[in-house]
């Protein structure tokens, strides 16, 4: 981490929590946890609320679909930490029914419905080019996505365009696959609270 305060500037109680996490999971505390727990009233708590509602709140997108969107935004931003973190959650959520790694490389392949495919293309363009136009939205609507589904996808895109930027700016370390798996199990069971 490029700021020492994010590595070791937490309160005594938060440091005790980190020790508990390390003992229970036998994994290092992920840098994203260190970020949201540092002066959490400023960023961590209000941002976690937004992300929890986008990723686990009411939506006709499945949890797996939403984690795939998060991973796809990360892939577009080339954020290694977020790609691995949310690919792991999507894999678990889909229970192996979809090949997440292949879908991230090419959402045009078989395995997902047209509304999700068109939505992935749209949020990819929005992330890459910082803008989309009405024609882009008409394409997603014509593919069968509802207005609400598009709004839900834009909320996911918002969250992971924030988190990915912070991961790269603060230089999150990329831990082992076992650490990501432990994190994925937690996110699937408990969400982003």
């Amino acid at each position: 981490m490029r700021l020492q305060i994010l590595d070791s500037g937490h309160s005594f109680g938060t440091k005790a929590l980190f020790a508990l996490i390390r003992t229970a999971s036998r994994q290092p505390v992920l840098d994203v946890i260190k970020l949201v727990k540092y002066r959490s009233d400023f960023y961590g708590k209000p941002m976690s609320k937004v992300t929890q509602e986008a990723m686990r709140g009411p939506s006709s997108w499945s949890v797996g679909d939403r984690e795939l969107m998060a991973a796809f935004v990360a892939k577009t931003n080339q954020c290694e930490f977020c790609i691995k973190a949310h690919s792991a959650v999507a894999d678990l959520a889909y229970s192996g029914e979809k090949n997440v790694a292949e879908l991230l490389c090419d959402p045009s392949i078989a395995g997902i419905g047209e509304p999700l495919r068109a939505t992935l293309h749209m949020i990819g363009k929005l992330t890459r080019e910082h803008a989309v136009d009405a024609d882009d939205m008409r394409t997603v609507l014509a593919a069968g996505a509802s207005i609400q589904q598009i709004e839900d996808a834009l909320s996911i895109c918002f969250s992971f365009n924030v988190i990915g930027r912070l991961a790269d700016s603060f230089d999150f370390s990329v831990p082992s696959p076992d650490a990501f798996l432990a994190g994925a199990k937690y996110l699937l069971a408990r969400g982003y609270r």
């Binding site: 749209m122 207005i147 930027r165 912070l166 700016s169």
Partner: protein, 101 residues
């Protein structure tokens, strides 16, 4: 307004108008990626436009300009949220235009 829209607005109010170590004006400038000068301007612009290009040197120069780590933390957070907000607002406007026509 949906719950998530309320939560998103609460996030923006907190980082821009709530208590902070950086001034409200600096946080707003980082959020807007506008009106900053020197090393902080470069750091904020990289966070907004291509966060992968941010390096140790950007943080070192921001510290050397007199900013504390807490101030840098807040301003980087505001820059990231600002860019994501501009993208979100542009997409919502495009969706509204598609819905009207």
């Amino acid at each position: 307004m949906s719950d998530i829209e309320q939560s998103r607005k609460a996030l923006l109010r907190r980082v821009l108008d709530g208590d902070g170590r950086a001034s409200s004006l600096e946080r707003r400038s980082a959020f807007d990626n506008s009106g900053l000068v020197g090393p902080l301007c470069e750091l904020v612009d990289k966070v907004a436009s291509n966060a992968r290009s941010v390096g140790e040197e950007d943080f070192r120069r921001a510290r050397q300009s007199g900013l504390s780590e807490d101030q840098i933390f807040e301003l980087v957070v505001c820059a990231a949220i600002g860019q994501a907000t501009r993208q979100y607002d542009a997409a919502r406007a495009a969706l509204e235009a598609a819905r009207r026509n």
